[in-house]
């Protein structure tokens, strides 16, 4: 699945430039959640972000989704400086991206069809979106999106009747109906069993490739990331530890990424493999 990316124009370009993000209300003394992260993602590219819990994976996605304003550095979407732009323009950029948080944000008393179609809101006017609450606007589209994740039967069930894994897949089905050109997916497999997880990840990658959508996924499963993505970004203590094709990564780099609580030990012999370990110069 890690083949070359079709150079479709539909995908969004994402550039994070030396992004630093502190915990809200934290004083200067504490280590920031993201510490000068630079990451460039080409239109239509697919990459996985890996790293231990608390390394800043979710925060990186939030910063890319314009959900958290960086304390320093810049976020550019399709080349436009998102936080320097007028609020109206920023909201326009948000319409072109899709963030799927790890906990699927679905109101428990909503029906699955409505929860999925909420992904279409950015392209609907107010009246269309209200009338869709009375009679769903695109039942076929919602069903197709659900079927892609094996949930076609649950269209008219209520969200609180679903299991945790089913909810997570409903949250992903929403991406398929959204008018987005950049998918930022946080831990899509957290609530899924191993077999289902592989199928869901494959579907996600295939759909993104088909549409030329840029895909950034954060993953706990290092093996799956290696097997399915052509580019892997290792994040540790809020900084990029490596950014490379899986073939170019050696075992020491993986070990260091998940090493115990001691500060990340940078291996003394700088590997000749691209890119160099602190990938900020990329």
């Amino acid at each position: 699945m890690a083949g070359p990316v079709a150079p479709l124009a539909a995908g969004m370009r994402l550039d994070l430039e030396a992004v630093t993000l502190r915990r809200p209300g934290a004083s200067g003394g504490r280590r920031p959640i993201l510490d000068g992260v630079t990451l460039r993602v080409a239109p239509g590219e697919q990459l996985a972000i890996v790293g231990p819990s608390g390394c800043g994976k979710s925060s990186l996605l939030l910063a890319a989704a314009l959900a958290q304003r960086p304390d320093a550095g810049s976020v550019r979407l399709d080349g436009s400086e998102a936080w320097a732009a007028a609020p109206r323009r920023r909201q326009q950029l948000r319409r072109a991206l899709f963030l799927a948080p790890q906990a699927p944000p679905l109101p428990p008393r909503q029906r699955v069809v409505t929860a999925v179609l909420a992904g279409r809101l950015p392209m609907l006017g107010l009246w269309r979106s209200l009338s869709s609450l009375i009679y769903p606007d695109d039942i076929a589209g919602a069903q197709q999106a659900l079927a892609a994740f094996g949930l076609g039967e649950r269209l008219f069930d209520r969200v609180d009747r679903l299991s945790g894994g089913e909810r997570q897949r409903v949250g992903l089905a929403r991406a398929l109906v959204a008018p987005a050109r950049l998918w930022l997916i946080d831990e899509p497999l957290a609530a899924l069993d191993p077999v289902r997880a592989v199928a869901v990840l494959d579907e996600l990658c295939a759909q993104a490739r088909q549409r030329g959508i840029t895909l950034v996924v954060s993953l706990h499963q290092a093996e799956l990331a290696q097997a399915r993505f052509g580019r892997i970004v290792g994040l540790r203590d809020g900084a990029i530890a490596f950014d490379a094709a899986p073939a170019a990564l050696h075992e020491g780099q993986w070990r260091d990424l998940y090493a115990g609580d001691e500060p990340p030990a940078m291996p003394a012999p700088a590997p000749a493999l691209p890119p160099p370990i602190p990938a900020m110069c990329r």
């Binding site: 314009l66 948000r94 072109a96 991206l97 906990a103 944000p105 679905l106 909420a118 209520r158 987005a180």
Partner: protein, 287 residues
């Protein structure tokens, strides 16, 4: 003194020594004592002397008045009159609440911070912040003035009649509903709405797809409860000339017609009970 004995009991039940004692109980005892200490002057200031209710003269007066409640007045012409007055009371309350909603819904949406797009980045921008505070201030002003005062004001402007009552309820209840709507929306789980805003939805779309599904049962039952309060208010406003059950009650009280009072009170209880049933039904049936 019961308190020390209770404490001793707890200590005995707790078993050996001071180590097992709940470290929080001393603080609780202190707050309880402080509350009692503060309540006493308040009761004095309010001239709260319930025992005057029980002296022989008071008992005789109350008993005489209550005895006149039986039998309730059920003559047909009076019942027709009550039916008409009841209908007018409910109409005043319902019109008042409907007008209040026109005020409350936009104000609540303005005031509700969960639907702030500028807050997505961290801090709310200054202009939206000022707007939100202005909406809160407007609602506080509207509900600070009691509906009775609004009504007396409007009676001077539009004259005696239901219009004054409707306007008074609309203003006071607009402020109350708006404030509590905003708070219900803010205390509901805002994650769904927040993610919709991040993914480019507008505020109203995020409200309809993210916040309302989480909050609509609360909003519905609070609205019905306020409608019930508005019925009570419109009865009180009747005493100052807004018409309806209140005005009719005023006449019966002045005429010492206990039977009429009894009938009207029963109608009133039935109204409130109906509102209660409606609210329970709404909470159960709203999907």
């Amino acid at each position: 003194m019961t308190l020390p004995r209770a404490v001793a009991g707890v200590r005995a039940a707790g078993g050996v020594g001071a180590a097992r004692r709940d470290p929080a109980w001393r603080g609780r005892l202190l707050w309880l004592a402080l509350a009692a200490l503060l309540l006493w002057p308040a009761l004095r200031a309010a001239e709260f002397t319930p025992w005057t209710l029980l002296d022989a003269r008071s008992l005789r007066v109350s008993a005489g008045y209550l005895a006149s409640f039986v039998p309730p007045d059920l003559r047909a012409p009076f019942l027709a009159e009550v039916a008409q007055a009841t209908w007018r009371t409910v109409a005043i309350a319902t019109s008042g609440i409907s007008l209040a909603l026109l005020l409350a819904v936009p104000l609540a949406l303005l005031a509700c911070a969960s639907l702030s797009i500028s807050r997505l980045g961290g801090r709310m921008a200054p202009l939206p912040f000022v707007l939100r505070q202005a909406a809160r201030g407007t609602m506080a002003l509207l509900r600070t003035v009691p509906e009775l005062v609004w009504a007396l004001l409007f009676v001077r402007v539009v004259g005696l009649g239901p219009t004054a009552g409707v306007l008074a309820i609309a203003l006071t209840y607009g402020g109350m509903l708006g404030k509590v709507y905003a708070e219900i929306l803010e205390s509901a789980d805002g994650q769904a709405a927040r993610v919709l805003l991040i993914n480019g939805a507008t505020r109203l779309q995020a409200l309809a797809y993210g916040l309302l599904p989480a909050a609509r049962a609360e909003l519905g039952s609070y609205t019905v409860y306020r409608w019930e309060c508005a019925i009570r208010s419109s009865v009180v406003l009747g005493f100052v000339g807004a018409g309806g059950l209140g005005q009719r009650m005023d006449e019966s009280i002045k005429a010492l017609a206990g039977g009429e009072m009894a009938t009207m009170l029963m109608v009133f209880v039935a109204l409130v009970a109906a509102a209660d049933r409606l609210s329970a039904w709404l909470r159960r049936e709203l999907p």
